[in-house]
Symmetry: C2
Subunit: 396 residues, 2 copies
């Protein structure tokens, strides 16, 4: 094999001196503590130096303090038990697999992430969608959960195995209130799984207050941690069912593994990304308190973007999250005659020190202002105005 | 919440100045290139800067060169297609889930890792074990695979969905020859999955030469990469079945995700550990050529350990792998009257600059000499001799 040398030197462009507004990257930027922990625990099975032989499970490790971290993580989320999984989607799969049986149904909002659909499919569950109310706000009516649960009962003779609500979706950045949905689900005896990939870790989320049964979260999306890290937090007696231990037994050897949590396949994130999640935790606990200021930045950005001719926000108004979906007939019109076509917007932004808007997109694009300073937010807004004016779009 | 500050400063003891012989950590120590890549790609979704919107899948990313890396990885393993998963155990689960149906059987060697059993259990498959031949060598006779496949056919009316062979097991470090097992499996039309967690990445492994259909590997165990990273490599038409695309469709929205690989739940390792795997690849490709020298170190270590009164190797002889399982009646006898009981061995080794033998163990313990220099190997052997003599065990 030849030409392999290039792999040794892989690097990321546009690291320093650029403002990154990538829709899924803002909440995953490491804290300084996480950066140190990453190197400290870089080697393979670094977390396992002192794995207790009796439990032999990640959540039992005391040195480094994984066991107490998981307890504090559960507490922070207002839940009883927490585990770190390899991804938020793995958390969802685990819940679907352990609470449902093949052929059962899961009710999900129609703004759910694609991985929610795949997690259900892999667990052999049927998906029943709760409709949204369409453009421009794409709201989900909590009452629609009741209708869909009724529908499942009529169609299958039993309620859905579980319902899922996407706390903030990746399509429009809409924030939904889990409480009325939880109330409805519980009336039917259906547990509610909250997909908090875009919320827990950046804004306050308390499962007990929200009355949800399960929270799935994403370390690399919202906890200043490296990918891949997911969070699975549980309340009440469901925890035992979701984290059920292995029952398999070797037919010849009699080997058994009754300490291992089946759906986690034993241990999950045994190294660096978990270290980054742990090390960022104090920073995350602090930063969620500053959420309101982050929302103000997003609202300001929307206001500035909507000043551009033919440009509007998609999703609920006023914004209650930092993920912004923009529809711009204006920039789209420019792209039709620009020699770089749709790439002009990305390139013009990059020239102005801004990256993260997907190259090629103009009519619909997303950005995220989470964690930017006010100066940076203003710089981004001005860059959009500047580009608009350059191409003859009015900025009113 | 209080007392969280300690999480920010988590660190690993015994990093520098110590020789680490931890049985599962030697192959996962990062290369220098991986260490740089880890920091470079530390932030959350760092790999996704330029995710191609059309494919929107990890293996299609060209910048950094994930797509070509996966192609080179497959080639290096003598396979057609490769994917990076979150863990070797996830690779095994994916194979079991996609090739079996609930109630089907998987035939596995009885030295298989616990995660093999759990992966089968999670996929709803029954496990049928191929016996080993017991102490002291614990060999597996390839012919026993034929017997067990026949047994499954008699019991269930059909052959097993898949067979698994643990290339080198974590119990004794025995190396099995996959070729005769593959021939037997193929006579029955059963695909063979090779669990190469302890081999691929440290020694030459070529799936085509070995005639196996699928290889599962572990980045953090054997590819100088951070956890969690698994490898899934496939040959022939099976690849399409294992990597089948999602077919789910939203019943209300009509949303579909036909680009996404179902059992991978779309994307897997989207950040730092994948970067470490990619960056270490040239180093790994080179180091597997030096495997014979590593085996000589292991054989030397066994020879030296067996000079200690009441101490012998468990597992096949001569050693053909660097993972060593020691049975020591001698050290065990010492532990019975030592005030630190079984911990004396760990502590005496640590005083001599050696860590990684599990604290508390004396009668049976494991160590791994992979990648140690000859000087280090000799230092470890001398330390064992020195401790033995200190406690009145003869060294002949």
């Amino acid at each position: 094999m030849s030409g392999l040398e290039r792999y040794a030197g892989i690097s990321r462009p546009y690291k320093s001196g650029y403002i990154n507004v990538h829709p899924i990257q803002r909440g995953g930027i490491l804290s300084e503590a996480a950066r140190r922990a990453l190197l400290e625990f870089g080697d393979g099975y670094s977390i396992c130096d002192f794995c207790p032989p009796k439990e032999a499970r990640l959540d039992a490790i005391k040195k480094p303090p994984i066991a107490s971290f998981m307890a504090d993580l559960a507490k922070f989320l207002g839940m009883d038990v927490a585990r770190v999984t390899t991804r938020c989607r793995e958390s969802k799969f685990i819940v679907f697999r352990m609470l449902g049986r093949p052929g059962d149904t899961v009710v999900v909002d129609s703004l759910a992430h694609y991985s929610t659909y795949l997690a259900a499919e892999l667990a052999g569950l049927r998906v029943k969608e709760v409709p949204h109310e369409g453009p421009p706000e794409y709201r989900i009516n909590p009452e629609a959960y009741a209708e869909k649960i009724e529908e499942v009962k009529r169609e299958t003779g039993k309620p859905p195995a579980v319902a899922l609500l996407t706390h903030v979706d990746n399509l429009y950045g809409n924030l939904k209130d889990p409480k009325p949905v939880a109330k409805i689900c519980h009336e039917y005896g259906v547990p509610l799984l909250l997909n908090a990939a875009y919320t827990a870790g950046v804004m306050p989320v308390n499962g007990k207050d929200l009355e949800v049964d399960i929270i799935a979260g994403s370390g690399h999306k919202s906890w200043a941690a490296s990918a891949p890290t997911g969070i699975l937090a549980l309340r009440g007696p469901l925890a035992e069912k979701v984290l059920a231990r292995s029952k398999v037994q070797g037919d010849w050897s009699g080997r058994r593994f009754p300490n291992k949590e089946l759906a986690l396949l034993g241990c999950t994130v045994m190294g660096a990304p978990l270290a980054s999640l742990v090390a960022s935790f104090p920073y995350v606990v602090e930063r969620v308190q500053r959420w309101e200021e982050e929302v103000k930045k997003a609202q300001y950005m929307v206001e500035q973007l909507e000043r551009i001719e033919g440009t509007r926000l998609l999703g609920e108004k006023p914004k209650r999250h930092t993920l912004i979906h923009v529809e711009s007939e204006g920039f789209h019109r420019v792209s039709k005659t620009h020699k770089r076509r749709g790439f002009f917007l990305y390139e013009e932004l990059r020239e102005r020190g801004i990256v993260g808007v997907q190259p090629g997109l103009t009519k619909h694009f997303k950005l995220n202002v989470y964690g930017l300073t006010w100066d940076e937010v203003k710089k981004v807004a001005e860059a959009f105005h500047d580009i608009a004016r350059k191409y003859g779009l009015s900025v009113h």
